[in-house]
Symmetry: C2
Subunit: 216 residues, 2 copies
């Protein structure tokens, strides 16, 4: 059975994983894209997001790349899929990522509001799960078979899985920026008590990369 | 006039500047000393704390050293001086640092409870200020003359000075450990709104060093 991983989750110096006031103009909240300056130029992100061959190799790319290796399914929160809240009104909305999203596997979206699945180009499909995080994980495991499951975010979704003890490993990147407000990954959660420890600490010029694992 | 600086303030991956349950046995709270593993082996700390010449040079020491350069006075919170809370009962307590503390300049201690000053060996004196952070800064400025003032901590004291807009510069070290709970430096404070930005980002093998400055 695969493991459950968080990958390339960037936080600011002051601990925020996204800026405030997410909207169609600011998918990552105001200032949120500053968090990802280490990731955008990497070969992995350039290829995955822009189908470009012009990205950089090196430490940042090594960490970006591991986030796409051996992933059989993703789980994301509804706010990561859409800037809207509440019941689905705009059924034309198919995510931020165009016709061929960067997932290429089934993506399970945790939401309170049901909606039929959407099948995109390139192997990505979006499945809306209204039964909570455990149901989403169950479905993701079935879809992923022996491969790993990546919890994409946002902070609130990761939070719920952390509290339930369901995440095996996290790659966190601390970017040298201050966001001031927004969503915090480590608020109201005792990572030490939950059994996590830092097993790897590698720096690039643009970020501090950390691997947190559940000690067995 | 000198500037007001925070130096060598270490926080964990999850943002804590000290562990929980500070006591005589755990001056930095449980797990808190893990935060300072980058600092202890440096030439600066070995010299200042243990009068040893056997410390290491390098990035960590560069950052440790700047914390002692051109400092004319310190300001610390009462909890950094003593594990006791409330009115002073143990008048024999003269801090954690022995007869010759590592400050060698006047130290102003922000407390609700008055107490006569204490004059230690090596030029350190402890002055107990019950009139709040502004009075402490006023007295520290008088004592420091043209030199800088270092706000030692803890998190709560730094917090008060940050909110009052009185800190010019902070050196923060992020250590690759999880504390899980304790005192958070950046809780309830919007560093971006207060006008701070990260101006320097340097990594060692043991910590990520950041300089935060108020933009003018």
């Amino acid at each position: 059975m695969g493991i459950v991983r968080v990958e390339s989750f960037s936080i600011s110096i002051d601990g925020y994983g996204a800026g405030p006031e997410q909207s169609i103009k600011h998918p990552l909240g105001i200032g949120g894209s500053d968090l990802h300056q280490w990731a955008f130029p990497t070969a992995t992100f350039q290829k995955v997001l822009f189908n470009s061959e012009n990205g950089n190799s090196g430490t940042d790319d090594d960490f970006a790349a591991r986030g796409f290796k051996n992933i059989g399914a993703w789980i994301i929160g509804r706010n990561m899929f859409s800037p809207d809240r509440g019941a689905w009104t705009n059924m034309k909305w198919k995510g931020w990522w165009g016709d061929n999203p960067p997932y290429h596997v089934p993506v399970f979206i945790v939401t309170h509001f049901k909606r039929p699945p959407i099948y995109m180009e390139g192997g990505t499909s979006f499945h809306f799960v209204s039964g909570g995080i455990h149901e989403a994980l169950h479905l993701a495991r079935e879809a992923a078979k022996e491969k790993d499951i990546r919890i994409g975010g946002g902070a609130n979704t990761i939070h719920q899985y952390l509290k339930a003890g369901l995440i095996d490993e996290l790659h966190i990147a601390i970017s040298p920026v201050l966001l001031g407000s927004g969503e915090r990954l480590f608020n109201g959660i005792d990572m030490r008590q939950l059994g996590y420890e830092c097993t790897q600490f590698v720096n690039s010029e643009k970020a501090t990369h950390l691997i947190l694992k559940k000690s067995t």
